[in-house]
């Protein structure tokens, strides 16, 4: 439900990064979102269209890459990927894990832009 503020923050961050590329248009924004990040992909996509209006991001595509939860399992001595978020147990040995290694990410990985051709005489 806070997806609109999340996408507004995405638009701001991307707009700032465009300063190095004057006149560029954004074609695609790629996100990495952990399964425990408390945001919903569909809701992000819906809000994105609204927040992007009137900016260099208008008409661009939001690509959301959802990352599964990864915990460190002490007994196995390994990082293990959980199948869901209903049980924080190692899928190999069944022991509960509390050491979270991945799953809360909420970041902009990269953007694809179309640069304006340099105007030269």
């Amino acid at each position: 439900m806070h997806e609109l503020s999340i996408v507004s923050s995405i638009v701001d961050t991307v707009t700032e990064s465009l300063a190095a590329y004057p006149g560029a248009r954004v074609k695609e924004v790629r996100l990495r979102v952990g399964a425990l990040a408390s945001v919903v992909r569909e809701s992000l996509e819906f809000c994105y269209g609204i927040a992007a209006q009137g900016t260099a991001l208008e008409g661009s595509l939001l690509v959301v890459h959802v990352l599964p939860v990864v915990m460190h399992c002490e007994p196995c001595g390994a990082d293990v990927e959980l199948e869901g978020v209903q049980s924080f147990r190692c899928p190999r040995c069944g022991q509960p894990c509390s050491d979270l290694r991945q799953g809360r990410e909420l970041e902009i990985e990269a953007i694809e832009i179309e640069e304006a051709d340099e105007v030269k005489r």
Binding site: L31, P96, I108
Partner: protein, 224 residues
């Protein structure tokens, strides 16, 4: 036109996280233990906090509270009856508190300085989803669950329960009439967050409060 991929690798909530880290340093420097209370609406956060503030006050601790709601200052007025300084934060539609709101309200809080406090409680907006993403610089995140809500709340909102440092079960005086299945509730909390401290309380009867207050004192001393 040339197409180019620009790697950004920027945290979307980076600004909040940076500000929260600053706040965390300030709290530690002032020696105040800061707790962030989160739950669904109606769990009894305010009643639990009222009781906690009153009990701590009686013991001579210096306490204060910031309380978040979309609208009204009803909770602040209720909590102020405990004698502790209380300040309401109205988010006007925003579903969570963020580090900037906390920072601003601390700055303009007349008569209250972090250095003069032992405990600062932040009662978040009633919501088990969005507040989980926003670090407020707290030392302890407390998730509350009432016996009237259903034992599977931790499974339904794993993101929040997994981010908590302590869990408080409220309204234990209603456990019988509600048919509350204690074992299942405890098991579900542990399934999502192994080994977390769990307090079974009633703000009405005071059950479980001794243990909770002892935990607070222990954490505050441990911080120094």
């Amino acid at each position: 036109m040339t197409t180019r991929i620009v790697e950004l690798r920027r945290g979307i909530l980076k600004k909040n996280d940076e500000l929260a880290a600053e706040l965390r340093n300030r709290y530690a420097a002032a020696g105040v233990l800061v707790l962030n209370l989160v739950s669904s609406p109606g769990t009894g956060k305010t009643a639990f906090l009222e009781r906690t503030l009153r009990d701590l006050n009686t013991r001579g601790a210096r306490v204060a509270a910031l309380v978040g709601d979309l609208e009204t200052d009803n909770d602040a007025r209720r909590l102020a009856a405990s004698g502790a300084p209380v300040r309401q934060i109205n988010t006007h539609g925003i579903c969570h508190l963020d580090a900037e709101m906390i920072s601003k309200h601390l700055e303009y809080w007349e008569g209250v300085a972090l250095g003069g406090l032992d405990y600062l409680f932040i009662e978040n907006v009633g919501n088990l989803v969005c507040p989980s993403s926003y670090d407020l610089g707290e030392a302890i995140r407390v998730v509350l669950l009432s016996v009237t809500e259903g034992e599977d709340k931790p499974l339904k909102y794993p993101s929040m329960f997994n981010s908590a440092d302590a869990a408080v079960i409220t309204k234990m005086d209603l456990a019988g009439p509600c048919g509350f299945d204690r074992e299942t509730a405890l098991r579900n909390i542990n399934e999502i967050r192994r080994g977390i401290r769990i307090f079974e309380t009633s703000s009405k009867t005071g059950a479980g409060m001794e243990e909770w207050l002892a935990y607070l004192e222990e954490k505050r001393k441990g911080q120094g």
